[in-house]
């Protein structure tokens, strides 16, 4: 059965409103129960909290008004719009097993297997955080500002795990004279990113299919290496290789800046975050949080390592902030 545009928009808006209620009302109620000493293992409220986190996302992607069926019915036009996209694909490229084993975010087929996956992912990402983006600058712009504050003279930038280009755009907009290279595994996402960059008139940006843990760039190629929500998608061994690769690619004295999720030590925060990981099909989120990143970075030859909570929208780090949010963290370090 087809889905008309109005029904799709209404169906998705319903889910977003439900997610907003979950974010602003159910999550604080669960936290209040926990703080009152209740055992969440016995909590009916927590059961609904978990159910909704899992299934609102399933409805969003695969439901009757889901992103996947809605975009699939427009497949021919969407695929055609990518035909001339100037992304560089690697011939005979094979996706790593860890990448194809699980459909991350409950995105059917993952973000890589379907030629229209980039469109589905892009549309889905607009409503990942129900509270962000309304009254604030987008978090990607905040990350770009934070990175350029640390590397004001960056002229060669590598964006690892660029996806459909949302993280890359603020860099090529802020640095029109710079050379920005953006790499990812997903061919469909790279094609969408390249198409959009061309439409935006960006000249100094390239989108290339490449594994961030073993790139083809010469040593000391970049003034800045960055990633946004990449590290938690990688198994620990690949995180280590990726950070080592970032070290190899940076010129001495240059910095890398990664935005990702690292919960604090509170058991409740970890329960919520690791539970989210399981419910959202994120097998490497908990392993990343359990890595000793400062020790690893020192061993790899970085210095001035700084890992800080990141304010993705105004006020989210305030003591009184009670709504659900990702534990955003900015990880930065300088190459010796």
């Amino acid at each position: 059965m087809s889905i008309d545009g109005r029904a799709f928009a209404a169906g998705q808006a319903f889910l977003l409103s439900a997610k907003g209620y979950w974010t602003r009302t159910l999550y604080p109620a669960v936290r209040a129960e926990h703080e009152s000493g209740a055992n969440l293992g016995q909590s009916v409220l927590y059961q609904y909290y978990c159910w909704l986190e899992r299934h609102l996302q399933r409805f969003k992607y695969s439901g009757r008004y889901g992103l996947q069926p809605y975009h699939a019915q427009d497949r021919a036009r969407l695929e055609k719009s990518l035909e001339a996209a100037p992304a560089e694909m690697k011939e005979g490229f094979e996706y790593p097993e860890y990448y194809t084993r699980v459909d991350i975010h409950q995105h059917p087929g993952g973000v890589w297997s379907d030629p229209i996956a980039g469109f589905v992912y892009e549309r889905g990402a607009r409503s990942t955080t129900p509270l962000a983006g309304k009254r604030h600058r987008d978090l990607h712009e905040r990350l770009t500002a934070a990175a350029l504050e640390r590397c004001p003279s960056a002229r060669r930038v590598l964006d690892m795990g660029c996806g459909f280009g949302k993280s890359t755009r603020p860099f090529y907009e802020a640095l029109p004279e710079a050379q920005i290279d953006a790499i990812d595994l997903s061919a469909p996402c790279l094609r969408l990113a390249a198409r959009d960059a061309r439409q935006a008139g960006a000249r100094g940006v390239r989108f290339r299919q490449m594994d961030c843990s073993r790139t083809d760039y010469p040593e000391e190629s970049f003034d800045l290496v960055t990633s946004t929500m990449l590290l938690h998608e990688l198994p620990p061994a690949i995180v280590e290789k990726t950070l080592a690769e970032a070290h190899r690619l940076l010129r001495p004295g240059a910095r890398m800046v990664h935005l990702d999720f690292l919960p604090g030590p509170e058991p409740f925060d970890q329960l919520i975050h690791f539970g989210h990981a399981r419910r959202n099909n994120e097998p490497f989120m908990e392993p990343l949080a359990r890595m000793d990143l400062p020790a690893l970075l020192e061993r790899l030859g970085f210095r001035k390592t700084a890992i800080h909570p990141f304010e993705e929208a105004d006020g989210t780090l305030d003591a009184g902030y009670r709504y659900w949010r990702f534990p955003w963290a900015l990880i930065s370090a300088e190459r010796w």
Partner: protein, 86 residues
């Protein structure tokens, strides 16, 4: 196919709540569509929204509503409707 995750002590509730949420979403999609139709009809002078919104003088759809409610509630009785075995 991999079995879906469950969160309630009885997995029947996991599935039933999925049905509830699917119906709620359908209801919102319908409400949105009806509101859109009302707006277009009013714009073209076909519909008097004020009159539509008034409390009705009579109860024209009482019988229809009673039947709807009876159909909705009858499963609560747990009775077979056609003679069979226990």
């Amino acid at each position: 196919m991999i079995p879906e995750q469950t969160f309630f002590p009885d997995p029947a509730l996991d599935r039933a709540f999925g049905v509830v949420m699917a119906l709620a979403q359908e209801m919102w999609v319908l409400r949105d569509r009806v509101a859109g139709m009302e707006a277009q009809l009013a714009e073209h002078g076909v519909l008097d929204v004020k009159k539509l919104n008034e409390e009705p003088a009579g109860d024209e759809r009482a019988a229809e509503r009673e039947a709807f409610v009876a159909h909705l509630m009858q499963d609560l009785l747990g009775q077979q409707q056609a003679k069979g075995t226990r």
